[in-house]
Symmetry: C2
Subunit: 148 residues, 2 copies
Amino acid sequence: MKLSPDGNMFTEIVLETFKLSGLLTTVGDSIAASAGVNSARWKILGAIYLSSHSLTVPQIARTMGQSRQAVQRLVDIMHKDNLLTFSDNPNHKKAKLIALTEKGSAIYLKVDEQQIPWANNLADNLDAKDLATTLQTLKKIQQAMDAK
Amino acid sequence: MKLSPDGNMFTEIVLETFKLSGLLTTVGDSIAASAGVNSARWKILGAIYLSSHSLTVPQIARTMGQSRQAVQRLVDIMHKDNLLTFSDNPNHKKAKLIALTEKGSAIYLKVDEQQIPWANNLADNLDAKDLATTLQTLKKIQQAMDAK
DNA sequence: GTCAGAATGACATCATGTTGTCAATTTTAA
DNA sequence: TTAAAATTGACAACATGATGTCATTCTGAC
């Protein structure tokens, strides 16, 4: 069997996604470093901050497209480092609700201060319509994968 | 400072890229498993196969957006496993040229057999024009990052 | 209400991938 | 031509992340 023209484009998108993810992680490490965290921990902080309410570990993992255990590991470390708080979950005895401490919040905002001009600057050189299409398509790809 | 509307879209694309990359790696592991490799090794095989000529380790790393050392590590393992060959590089005494063995080639093609219908099928449910825009935009983002 | 199946945390093992360092080689600039 | 800078392979240390297992808790079908 051969790739259809669309299948070929799709495959190229997959490869570019891998590549971009690697590059973004490296850049993210630089951006987050001055606040004392790395990309991985910044992403955890962001997942909680952006949800605007407490989340359980599995919820964070699903948001991030990662395994429950990988997130649990980081959450435990960040809890020890006083970046996150655990609180009882009225709906589940074992699955604690996770929120940011003041320190965690401050770190997230400090990283954001640097990420914002970076993102604004890069976005300036790109077409808004194309960005919108790209964002929607990335989401649709995930939905299509889920459906299989 | 606040995110511009475009900066906000850009940030969302970044997060979706991370998420999609994680999900694709998991799916890729499943697809590649029957041929005895995983996503990481499949990607190495693909980088060499698709270039249609021998590559050095740093060249593979740049193609994949990963560190030279991570690629070197896998290449050494895959050489031991008889998936790759090393040959002298007329342009560089230390940097060997890497190519696929018959076994490596066969494995790549076997994985491809399964990846192709998967990609074709998913692409069928997506708009060709949107896929083209997405692919171009992902590449442009990388160029814009490089320029900084 | 009960019980099978799913979800969750804890723990372990392993693969992937980054960063840092050093010596050897290549490239570049003067 | 030569010397400084960049590239490369080898090696090490460490962080990230997937997978597997077990006991506990929750959910849903009956």
